[in-house]
Symmetry: C2
Subunit: 363 residues, 2 copies
């Protein structure tokens, strides 16, 4: 087991990464909180892992409330969030109840926002079971739900007390979701960690074959990158750089997700296509070469990811991107690559260049 | 104009109290935020004060989005909150937009929770126009909505950047709402400020006649009390005392509000009847005398407030009180009076005493 720390002062917390952690959760959670947990999961993950986590906790005297949600990004909305509140109130959970997210990014976002807002805030623990959640969404405190007019438009920054990433859970992950997680792993290399990018290029075959050691290393290195960025800019308020750089490919990607309807593409898939668009736009601004863009595209493709977006039309993309949270004071701010391994925020790309980059990368 | 400060470190903010402040808002808000405001109000308050506030701001070059909600506690729910999100997204408001609450406690709670959760948090300004909002709900950062199973069960602590209490707005306040505000004013005297309680007993006639000087003094002294308590216990985490003491009468009161359906009784009316129940229970525990209880009852009655609760039956009260946020680790914690002017939290009142106090105070 490896332990990383997210250095956020009084809100600091550990990330534990390794095999067999679900079974040993009682040891780590007991010390942290009152003996009452509400475990939020979904219909896919609960049959696989709920009892593995809950059984030993129950035996250790912890009261457990089970809240099982429908699976999928299309359920990341108010109606599903309200199922959590209903269950918490029905079971008379109070402010000392800790909410645990057992599942992927959608479960984490829903359970986290429920924890942030139930009785104005209760403790929260993340137990991510997908690669994407382990390397990205479970760390950093972003929670929320989608709105018909935009992704993640309603939510809160609410840091967990603990993140427990059991790498054994990746054994049951569908191939498409493994790839979606790799999109965010590759992102860390592209935006701030060139040696890691080179390692990924050398080890993509092992990762796709789910080699345990390779996956563990990729998760640790990704979380270390994320923890560093989050510690420097907890609430994404840095004027340049900071947390915003984690959104490489995300503004284009959100347009794909919203434009197709939530759940058609996985988040990581949309980010992959969006990353190619960001790379292509960076080339048009003179920062990347053709071969840099090809390098980005090749690595994403080797991770089983789409490298072009759906043909929504550039106008529709731009309209949907105008709703993105990365718009500041009416200006669209994009994360681009100054070079491979170094991202920058850019608020003054010409609309014609953005449009051309989108059209070049749609198939 | 009088300025008080809520000492919350990096979240500190001023409360401005006085006549004619709406017209001068441009001067104070410009310095604080980007020139883009979304002003949330309701169908009762907007016709009276929206243009008074928005007109000069617009002239000063501030972009204004108007969001007018239906009026009343029965609308403090997800559906109404979503009207705010819809409008913000439709108008493409971004993270630099400041949300302003112009109205009473319900508008403040809804707009405040919208500010806490829109794009994971945007700046917020309170412009309270009722006595209750000016002396209580606009200060301290509690925001939220009701759930069918309990009042204020979903929300956030989200501190405003500024509270602007224009005492001129009390001129149009219905008598019933003036009284409801006085319930919270009297509360400060009862829980921690005996000299203020004595002042209220000497000046209740002036307050009921809306004497401007008397009202101003009562608002300032109430806000000073609230600011002190909030500064010492921002998120209501103090084990004993702290913010919890502000909830004198509120656990009984919430049972009345939920039991009758939100909006039947005003919050302050329910708190008044609940305060008499808390006083009666304090007498049964040997802390107050019969004449102390009569003193509480008399002052509330002189403020035009109900001093007994609706006959819901003691069982129903207790059931509804079990959902209150003041339940900690399954135990009902009540705020009671150790003596007039001094409140305490009490976790071990016998159910028979609580039941008897309720039954004694229902008519």
């Amino acid at each position: 087991m490896r332990t990383l720390n997210v250095a956020l002062g009084e809100r600091a917390y550990p990330i534990l990464i390794g095999p067999g952690l679900l079974d040993r959760a009682a040891g780590v959670t007991n010390a942290l909180v009152a003996p009452r947990l509400a475990i939020v999961s979904n219909t896919t993950v609960a049959p696989l892992y709920f009892e593995k986590l809950a059984g030993p906790l129950r035996q250790a005297g912890v009261g457990i409330t089970a809240i099982v949600l429908p699976d999928g990004e299309s359920h990341k909305n108010w109606e599903t969030l309200n199922l959590i509140f209903d269950a918490l109130l029905k079971e008379r959970c109070d402010r000392t109840t800790t909410i645990v997210a057992l599942g992927g990014g959608v479960v984490g976002d829903l359970a986290g926002f429920a924890a942030a807002s139930y009785q104005r805030g209760v403790p929260f623990i993340q137990v991510p079971t997908t690669l994407l959640a382990q390397v990205d969404s479970s760390v950093g405190g972003k929670t929320g739900i989608n709105h018909p007019r935009g992704k993640n438009m309603v939510g809160a920054f609410w840091q967990p007390k603990l993140v427990l990433a059991d790498t054994d859970t990746l054994g049951t992950l569908p191939a498409r979701e493994l790839s979606a997680g790799l999109a965010e792993v590759i992102k860390y290399g592209l935006i701030r960690d060139l040696p890691f990018l080179e390692w990924l290029e050398a080890n993509m075959a092992e990762l796709m074959a789910r080699d345990a050691a390779a996956l563990s290393y990729a998760i640790e290195r990704s979380c270390a990158n994320k923890a560093e960025v989050v510690a420097g800019d907890e609430r994404e308020t840095a004027k340049d750089g900071g947390r915003a750089l984690l959104n490489l490919g995300h503004t284009f990607g959100h347009a794909i997700e919203t434009g197709l309807g939530y759940g058609q593409w996985l988040h990581g898939e949309a980010v992959a296509a969006g990353t190619v668009m960001a790379a292509e736009l960076s080339r048009r601004l003179g920062w990347l070469t053709q071969s840099d863009v090809a390098r980005v595209r090749d690595l994403l493709a080797r991770a089983g990811l789409p490298v072009s977006g759906p043909k929504l039309g550039a106008d529709r993309y731009l309209d949907l991107m105008g709703h993105d949270k990365k718009v500041i004071a009416g200006k669209l701010r994009l994360v681009l690559l100054q070079q491979i391994g170094t991202a920058v925020t850019c608020g003054d790309a010409a609309a014609t260049d953005i449009r051309a980059a989108i059209e070049d990368c749609c198939a």
